[in-house]
Amino acid sequence: LRRPLELLGPAVVVAVVGVVATFVSDSVEIYFLSALVSVAMIVAIWVFVGNSGVLSFGQISFVAVGAFAAGVMTVPLESKTGVLPDLFPVLRDHTIANVPSLLLAAAVGGALAFLVGMPLMRLSGLAAGIATFAVLEIVHNLLREWTKIGPGATTLSLVPETTGVLQATVGALIAIAAGFAYARSRLGRLLRASREDAAAAQGAGVSVHRQRLWAFTLSGALAGFAGGLYVHLLGSITTEQVYLELTFVTLAMLVVGGVGSLWGAVLGALVVSGLDSFLAEAEQGIRGLELPDGTRLIALGAIMALMLILRPSGLTGGREFGIPGR
């Protein structure tokens, strides 16, 4: 990540998606918005997984706490005691506006990531994978059962739907800019050095644990932020929506695009979201083409599996955005 083009390319592509979203009908707009929120989520995951080379199944737990923090704190005060009667008084008696709720989501996600990262970043390999998966399970379990901090197993509804075209686009751009700034900073370079050869990096004086922890915390903050965008897009959310399936889908997006680059994260999110939207529409029937119900999931699974088998380094091959021939 050196040239400005490597930031500009993905940013322009995301901006174009945002501009196109203003011209389409309301029923199609939701596909564009969720694609943009996916970009923010995948970039958040890439900040850690892409730069450290350590697989994490836990990043969606930061999306979850971000989503529920932003959601619970923006439910209108007059309906709060009705829908969330068991909340801690401090959560029940206050409501904040949209932008502060996104900042809160980022803060909560980052703080949680820092806390769990401190011990966990000592692990590598499968042990790290399972330990971060355990974090996902614990966060899901607590959010689902502890009604003092959220809605528990019921649906959190009445969240203001404030993630429109502008907010989704700007949100995705913020995530991309933060990811780019981190990756080209000294910290990002040190972490990538440890990804290539942990022993050599350590020998050269890099504290692998500390560098991973920085990336994990930033990734958690961005994931929390993306969760805030997500809950304000949906207007209602359950703990099941930010759990296993989202973990698998987001990781698949990242790998399809190419784990090694920011451009891969952005492209993977857009391509898989676009494919998913197209198949969902095709099941309803577009222009004479009508697929039977259930083919969407099969086609999505088959295409993801085929892409991974035929092009395991992802669509971008792990390279950053560039114009061929330059």
């Binding site: 590598s124 399972i130 974090v135 614990i138 088998i309």
Partner: protein, 302 residues
């Protein structure tokens, strides 16, 4: 706090669950040994077997079970040929995520087959009589528990014989220790991998038979949760060796059974948090696995 009463029956059920999970752990561990691949789609092999049992439930029991074994082994081989083989040189992360995609795909196919009758879930009840209890030394034990324990014991015994006493077993152990060197010395990669995949398939079929007795309603996410728990158990136990992986699978199944049987439901809501916190603790203290010998090398990097 009332003392948790762990009666003999709870222990018997927990041993049964541990045995089933041990079988799954062996299936996952065998494939990991030769391919260095964590097969997340292993649960979907079990699911496919369970659907086969459900769709053939009007057949004689032996025929139904035979169909289950054939389908699961065929699917296991197809998975190896179409997915694992092209990925052999890829990083463990890519392999794992690809098996997610395969699992996702197989679930979608199962859903499509399942909803043809407009309901989700198919009953597989041909072996329901195994749920009856027999009295063993004054304790009521369900027959299926005995079947599970016997199946696990026989399977592990035969596997140990195969690995220790046959030349192909020797090849498999060599491949699991150092695949490139083993190939240089004349071990045929495709034979060894094929055998591991077939054995894993047979074990998955056995698990399908046992699980459908306990949970007769087969749905597309059948055995998904079990697979996740077993994977956690396998890594916590130590995935680099077959016996530590198996022991890890048994332990997590036994522990789940005892805890669920001993505590009333209203006290188990935060139990997953406690269990997974314990998993993290074990991984921090023994990253190579709880049962791995001390001083065994660094863990695989993903």
């Amino acid at each position: 706090v009332t003392a948790a009463v762990v009666d003999a029956q709870t222990i018997a059920d927990a041993v049964g669950l541990g045995a089933v999970y041990a079988l799954m752990a062996v299936g996952i561990g065998l494939v990991f040994g030769v391919l260095r691949l964590v097969n997340f789609a292993y649960g979907q092999l079990v699911m496919a077997g369970a659907y086969t049992l459900a769709f053939t439930s009007s057949w004689p029991v032996a025929g139904s079970i035979a169909a289950c074994v054939v389908v699961v082994v065929a699917l296991s081989l197809a998975m190896e040929r179409a997915v694992f083989r092209p990925l052999r040189t890829q990083s463990p992360a890519v392999m794992l995520v690809t098996t997610f995609a395969v699992a996702f795909l197989l679930q979608a196919v199962a859903l499509l087959l399942d909803v043809r009758d407009d309901t989700i879930g198919e009953p597989a009840a041909s072996l329901a009589q195994l749920n009856q209890a027999v009295s063993v030394g004054g304790v009521d034990v369900r027959k299926v528990t005995i079947v599970a324990v016997l199946a696990a014991a026989v399977a592990l015994g035969l596997l140990a014989l195969l690995l220790r006493r046959t030349s192909v077993g020797l090849h498999m152990r060599a491949a699991a220790t150092d695949f490139p060197t083993a190939r240089l010395l004349g071990v045929r990669a495709n034979t060894v991998i094929g055998l591991a995949v077939v054995l894993a398939g047979v074990l998955a079929a056995a698990v399908a038979v046992i699980l459908t007795v306990q949970f007769p309603l087969v749905t597309p996410d059948f055995a998904l949760r079990d697979t996740i728990v077993v994977l956690v158990g396998v890594v916590v136990g130590g995935i680099d060796r077959l016996w530590t992986a198996t022991l890890g699978g048994f332990t997590i199944g036994f522990a789940t059974g005892v805890i669920n049987g001993a505590l009333p439901t209203d006290k188990t809501v935060f139990l997953p948090s406690a269990v997974f916190a314990l998993v993290i603790l074990v991984l921090l203290l023994r990253p190579a696995g709880l049962f791995a010998p001390r001083g065994s090398g660094a863990v695989e990097r993903v």
